[in-house]
Subunit: 163 residues, 2 copies
DNA sequence: TTAACTGCAAAATGTTTGCTTCCGA
DNA sequence: TCGGAAGCAAACATTTTGCAGTTAA
């Protein structure tokens, strides 16, 4: 069994092995970086983080690895409007992204049945939905205190909501 | 007064003049190409079309022009997943895009109140919606004959529906 | 052993820019 | 006239690739 920073195999490493991918030192490092990433890093950033753990990794390898992982359904490529592609691990549950146009910060959220709605729209147009992309670009509202007004049940912020 | 292919000023040219942009020969050609484009061309394609009308245009000029037009709210940049940015003229009414993953063909459609829904979602998250992006990637269904089943009123294909 | 992987540097791609010349208002 | 615009090529930024050496299975 291969280990993460705490001596445990990372989830991504496990997935790689399941798929029969050769686990090199570099891949292990990248897998660990990805497993520990709770944001949406681009290749540059992944390379930076990986390099801290192991200086013998090249950007080319990071590029090749993210592509490989994407092709194997382990990673998903995102485009939040910047010039570079960003990545997040698959299977954290369906969610969308809201990008704070001021800070660049990304907020994940879920919205019940949105995918179903889109599937219906697609069907009406005579198509079968393969995938979709929904991104909201928004500006933080002046912090209204903890007094909820119309809480519409469907929308839900993902993850630890207040740090 | 400047003329389009039929001797009339194009809509885009008019908008440029309104905004006080200097109308050079190249811009006139690009404006005409854009006015006549009913698809979502990328810079390469715009350059190709413009070059047919006037061989003395450089790609750099096309790049500078689309940027200028975008900054002036005349054009909108789109990203349909390919490697290059694509453009369409502003103000044809709000609509979304469905990209046929097989052919690359883009189908425009409207969906009543979708923007309003997204605005509500955004507000629930404590943000103010600035802009959003929604793209459907889909595969054409085997052509079911002209017998509509559940026609959900909201979705509507834009433009000439069957060529 | 050997097919797959890596590093490196070069190349490919899409886009922007510096500079000189040109031209529209 | 003269400031913005065009052409050209060089610069950029991101990503891919060819090749020769390395390594996991």
């Amino acid at each position: 069994m291969v280990m993460d920073s705490n001596g445990l195999q990372t989830r991504i490493e496990r997935m790689c092995i399941e798929r029969g991918l050769k686990m090199t030192g570099q891949r292990r490092v990248i897998a660990r970086v990805l497993s520990e990433a709770h944001d949406h890093p681009d290749v540059e950033e992944l390379y930076r983080r990986a390099s801290l753990l192991d200086g013998r990794i090249s950007v080319a390898t990071v590029y090749r690895t993210v592509r490989l992982l994407e092709e194997n359904g382990i990673l998903e490529r995102r485009d939040f409007g910047g010039s570079r592609a960003r990545y997040e691990t698959t299977g954290e549950g369906d969610h969308y992204h809201l990008i704070d146009v001021e800070s660049g910060q990304v907020v994940e959220f879920t919205h019940a049945d949105h995918a179903e709605l889109l599937r219906r729209i697609t069907a009406e147009l005579g198509f079968d939905l393969v995938s979709h992309r929904l991104e909201l670009f928004a500006r933080r509202l002046p912090d209204v205190p903890e007094e909820q007004t119309t809480q519409v049940a469907q929308t839900q912020r993902k993850g630890r909501s207040r740090p």
